[in-house]
Point group: C2
Chain length 217, copies 2
DNA sequence: CCTTATTTTGAACACTCGTTCAACTTAAGA
DNA sequence: TCTTAAGTTGAACGAGTGTTCAAAATAAGG
């Protein structure tokens, strides 16, 4: 039995709440779940410690809130891109993956530092089995939709391989966004990694996975 | 000025040290750096808390020790595989990537739970910028060797792209090992992800990245 | 067998952690 | 305008943190 709200939240309250979630996102991304303390988050948001609990609940609820906040927006953009592409003609693999990958990478490059931090946060989520159900709730429905599109392109193939390819592609996409520093180390002077090449990588890789013959017994 | 050892360590001491590193590896992998406490590690290793400091130094030194421990062995196997393949004839891309990817995946599947935990640990390392120098020290020399081999296969291509492809392939490899649970969710009933398909994915992806033409301005 | 470097214990240190809560301030709704 | 729900403060709580260290147990080297 949840307690009902009797009044609308004030503008200031919403602003404070957003500041807290932003600070939590940044610190969770940089230091992981246990590495970021409630006090550090509160200080970064410019509020008192108790307020974080008031707006975010327990630390774990706060983390889930932060992850879920941008997941909805991201899914929406991806699905809209897919529907827009479908309206322009039959979908091929490169187009499907473009609709999945480009929206996030573009946000990370041009939508401000929030979205880069969000990518690092998702890397923490992926690395920790503790967040498996959270990741599934936030991303599996949309991922499944794209997987179904891929499966439809390869009628004879084993369907499970599309899911494999999807997982590989997502991990490559996250690496693309948050490990620019690694590129500098491994290949000094190389320009910024660019989105087209990432999509080309994922497209060719998934195509190979979908069409590879099962080796004779 | 390091203090010199004056006596060989006893067999029991070496065994204890190994137990501590194993326990640390398992707990760091499962809960991340700050999520795993020294006391939990000590308890899992069956020793007193102070001993962990004695064998592992500070918590951060212990973490670096755990990561570095298997990195050397892994690099050695990979380089040996590469040299063995080179002895049998000219290298193609699939063979190079096979030498890089298969050794670890095989260890994870057949070398006991240590190596799966190690993969999860590496996922934490990759997700956290704090460990960037550690990752570079442990893995960049070998990675560079493989990148050079790939570059040699594509004389006309931009060299930096091989580093990009390498990063994508490594992230896909780690995802392959530690996110079996995701596969079950996205594609129920699918068999275990298998190594050949992962290598096919990486090979096709990197080939695409190396050969893609730069789009006209 | 001794000597003594090394390993191991167990407890303590100073500190930070997440959470809770009474009191105070702000502003929504009638 | 006035009532009172919602927002915010600041401090406190107990539990757990990494680290340190004197003392005891162990075993390597002479």
């Amino acid at each position: 039995m949840e307690k009902q709200r009797q009044r609308a939240p004030s503008a200031r309250s919403l602003q404070t709440r957003a500041r807290i979630l932003d600070a939590a996102e940044q610190l969770f991304a940089a230091r992981g779940f246990e590495g970021a303390s409630i006090r550090d988050i509160a200080k970064a948001a410019g509020v008192q410690g108790g307020l974080v609990a008031h707006h975010g609940g327990s630390k774990e609820e706060l983390f889930r809130l932060v992850v879920a906040r941008r997941a909805g927006a991201l899914s929406r953009i991806r699905v809209e891109a897919l529907e827009g592409a479908r309206a322009q003609g039959p979908l091929d693999l490169a187009t499907i993956l473009d609709c999945f990958i480009r929206p996030y990478v573009t946000l990370a490059q041009e939508g401000g530092p929030h979205w880069v931090a969000y990518g690092r946060l998702l890397a923490h989520v992926s690395a920790d089995p503790r967040w498996s159900t959270l990741a599934a709730e936030c991303f599996d429905p949309t991922a499944q939709q794209f997987i179904d599109e891929i499966v439809a392109l390869y009628p004879g193939a084993v369907p499970g391989r599309a899911a494999m390819g999807q997982i590989y592609a997502v991990s490559a996409m996250l690496a693309h966004v948050y490990s620019a520093w690694r590129l500098d180390t491994l290949s000094p002077g190389a320009g910024e990694a660019d989105t087209d090449r990432l999509i080309a990588f994922a497209t060719a890789g998934i195509h190979a996975v979908m069409t590879e013959r099962v080796p004779e017994k």
